[in-house]
């Protein structure tokens, strides 16, 4: 099993970005995801954002899906989904194998 990779787009001026970063870092420490942080405060980050079509922060990229976190409720929904996903992964890992 490989952990879900989440790419978080942030900017130093964005208050919601810090909350999202803290919450996702906690999940990463718990081994539930791999977090990639891309700051739009740097030219490289802006180049990456342009490539994938991010213009508003905080935004997460899950696979090919971009999701704007437009407030704490969006973050809670995302965290719940990520927790469910990692629980499903753990369950399938623990499930008995067939004969």
């Amino acid at each position: 099993m490989t952990a879900t990779t989440v790419e978080l787009f942030t900017h130093p001026m964005c208050s919601g970005c810090q909350q999202a970063l803290t919450a996702l870092r906690n999940l990463e420490r718990a081994g539930r995801l791999t977090l990639v942080v891309t700051s739009l405060g740097s030219p490289l980050g802006r180049k990456r954002a342009t490539e994938v079509g991010v213009s508003v922060v905080p935004t997460v990229r899950l696979g090919t899906e971009l999701r704007l976190l437009d407030g704490p409720s969006d973050l809670r929904t995302l965290l719940a989904e990520l927790n469910d996903t990692s629980s499903d992964d753990a369950r399938s890992k623990a499930a008995p194998r067939g004969p």
């Binding site: 900017h11 130093p12 001026m13 964005c14 208050s15 919601g16 970005c17 909350q19 739009l40 405060g41 030219p43 802006r46 342009t50 213009s55 508003v56 922060v57 905080p58 704007l68 976190l69 437009d70 407030g71 704490p72 409720s73």
Partner: protein
């Protein structure tokens, strides 16, 4: 709508590019004014907005009507033409960061009945001039930036 360096510039507005202000022509002859996307990015998150005039009040060109403050930016918002200030956006008193989150909508600053035509540029001319300006090196709250890019943060304060 033009997008230059992630900065949104609606086509239907007139611009004072050195001051980073926009004006919208309302159907009743009024002008609505605000801060451009470039201006809100340069300033950073607005922390205090106060008004120097109580509508309705006649003002001369260049008179300060509002004062906008962010952590490292303080700027009077001046009348572009003589006229009567008919409204100020009192919502900004409690939520100044609306200028950052929605600079061309809920973040409008004031409405004025002008005594004379507004000499600001529009359309292709505005787009070309802003494009030239955005090629220059900027000094903003983030420091000197030779690769300027407008920042759009979602409004977590409202939720």
């Amino acid at each position: 709508m033009a997008v230059i360096r992630n900065c949104i510039l609606p086509d239907d507005l007139a611009y004072d590019i050195p001051q980073d202000q926009w004006a919208r022509f309302l159907p009743n002859g009024l002008l609505e004014f605000g801060v451009t996307d470039v201006g809100q990015t340069l300033a950073g998150k607005f922390q205090t907005i106060s008004f120097r005039r109580t509508p309705p009040q006649h003002v001369g060109s260049g008179r300060a009507i509002a004062l906008l403050e962010s952590a490292k930016w303080l700027s009077p918002f001046r009348a572009a033409v003589p006229g009567t200030v008919v409204a100020v956006n009192k919502e900004l008193l409690g939520r100044p960061a609306l200028v950052n989150f929605d600079p061309y909508g809920d973040g409008w600053v004031l409405r004025l009945r002008p005594d004379e035509p507004l000499p600001w540029i529009r359309g292709d001319a505005a787009r070309e001039e802003y494009s030239l300006r955005l090629q220059q090196t900027f000094r903003s709250v983030a420091g000197v930036n030779d690769d300027f890019w407008c920042v759009h943060c979602s409004d977590w304060d409202a939720t």
